[in-house]
Symmetry: none
Subunit: 199 residues, 4 copies
DNA sequence: TATGAATGAGCGTTCATTCAT
DNA sequence: AATGAATGAACGCTCATTCAT
């Protein structure tokens, strides 16, 4: 209980204010416990950050690994599968927005933490790459483009959309923030498959 | 001279190690001057960071504002124009990689600095939005998709590609880092206009 | 049982690592009990240290007070008596090496503990003084040297020898550590009575 | 100046109260400077302690290395030489009493510091061993006793005498503290060469 | 007897900033 | 323009001790 409470407060503050601007004293004050209590549950400030990243990464990877979940191979099905996957990811992001904020914007921290973040994003990208690979095997996607690049572009799209949707910065006139996960997935997947020129 | 030297060292270290992990004492040591000298040229650590962001932003916006640089309105020309623009951006990124690293990964800093970063990215996105708007007016792009979202997706693509291309993290097997700006622009623009399904 | 176990662990760790470098949490961890249990048996960290010193001092004083154990007064007997006493002390030191280490090297601690150590050593020295006094009365030793100084020199000899024999530091080439208590006593007593010039 | 001032305060407090009971805040308060000033001159608390030990050790070794300073080889000269050496050492101890107190009683500290102390004492003992060796070569001392042990006994004598003379603990009735270095040297050397039985 | 979570004062250290020169 | 010694608030962390169970 206490442990979970401290974890939750830490994710939130790390995401909102950054790692270095989050003091242990802030965390324990918000939890209403003494400074020492933190160190009963966690070895150090770094270790709690690492734990947050690791566990969030695992949960997010589970979502991605479900893949396109489509049987036969029409483009139609491919698009639907991708849309469902994106929707799942957006939902996860919505439910774990502090973690996602950390993951997508968390840089400039200590070396070990940078590493953990970089690692989490690499693993995500590779999970996507495997999905695309499988889609190519099933004949659902053409082989014409470099696999790595495709995965990179896909990740970029998702990272950018999630970041803008949930944490800004968005241009003042944008109503991106008001989209539902479903809407967002539909629009993103349209761009993903058909590009700026649309259908 | 001294001023520029200090600025250059600061961008580099902010980008490499992050704002909080860069001490004034590191900067002056690398420049070979005394601690106090820093404060003759800059008001504070924050102010040098702000200056770096502001000036980098202006230079980058100039690149973007040149726009698609196309006269008539065939799709062919649209694609070529976009490719040229992306290529310019990638070249700028390559020549200003410390600034770009800062811009794309610099988060978790003090509030004023976050704001400056957020602002820079919003202005970039709006510059893109104006480009797209003009392309729609010229009939080069369909009106079918939300303007804001299109700009957001485009920015996401660019940010993601530049970040992976220049600073990693990239999956170990990826050869993204070895692309020339031209190659990268060609591949990105293909995705931009035609999506995952290709031509 | 528990009490004795905790005492034994404490002497060992105090001797090995010093008072301040021994945490209550180390002691209880090694004993396999909870932190709070310590405070059921001892009032505080200081009190367990004091108890260790006090009880060790009493046992050591018993050994010293047995004295030279000689009846008549030949020099021969005097030497033998002294040798036996030293041997007893060395054996005690060997069997209580953690306590001896504490006694001989334990400094830099809190005031009350310093006091207890100082006290123990003073009492030891006075026990020796009484032995020498009795030897003088019996005509076994000349009166020519200051009594206090003789006791001090004797104590110094014993402290130094025991410290080097059991806990080092010894110069690398020295084989002091391999002596038996008997050998050590013989050699020390020779120096004690006849000095560097030997017989 | 500041550096020397801080060093002097540190030796004194380390000797009087022990390493762990000396806070940086105590040192700087006594020097009348801010906490941070300490770190302008020294890397850490440990490093100042190490520097104190190292420099004191060197100065003391210089005294010991002057050796017996005797030419020909009568016992008389040997005794006189030894007495002069002891006298020098006692004078050094008197003039550097805080350092000597540290050296003779400083234990229970952090590992690096323990090591430095142990090392200093080993080097001292070896300096004495070389002196004895030379005396044997010159035929001034019999070969009958183990060299290492003789050096150890000599060191023990000196350590014990200095410790009692300058910092106690001494039995209340002892007037040891009032001896001059010369007196102390004379009495110690008598014991050193002729033992408890005197001449 | 025994537990172990909780406490909180206090420590060593860092570093942006100031200022007399 | 430049120095570099000095500042001091603030941080992460430690650990002897307490106390409800």
């Amino acid at each position: 209980m206490r442990r979970e409470q401290l974890l939750a407060i830490a994710v939130e503050r790390f995401a909102k204010f950054g790692y270095h601007n989050t003091k242990i004293s802030d965390i324990v004050a918000q939890a209403g416990v003494a400074q020492g209590t933190f160190y009963w549950y966690f070895k150090s400030k770094e270790s709690i950050a690492l734990e947050i990243i690791e566990s969030g990464k695992e949960r997010l990877l589970q979502v991605i690994r479900r893949g396109y979940r489509t049987g036969t191979g029409t483009v139609q099905e491919m698009v639907q599968g991708s849309q469902r996957l994106l929707c799942d990811i957006f939902q996860f992001a919505d439910e774990n927005r502090y973690f996602m904020e950390l993951l997508l914007t968390g840089r400039g921290e200590d070396e070990a933490i940078r590493q953990a973040f970089a690692n989490a994003r690499i693993e995500m990208e590779e999970a996507f790459k495997r999905n695309i690979e499988r889609a190519i095997e099933l004949g659902m996607l053409p082989e014409s483009m470099d696999l790595h690049l495709r995965a990179a572009l896909l990740m970029s799209l998702i990272e950018g959309v999630v970041a803008r949707w949930l944490f800004g910065p968005v241009p003042p006139s944008s109503d991106l923030a008001r989209r539902t996960p479903e809407q967002l997935a539909a629009e993103t997947v349209r761009f993903e498959f058909f590009g700026l020129l649309g259908i």
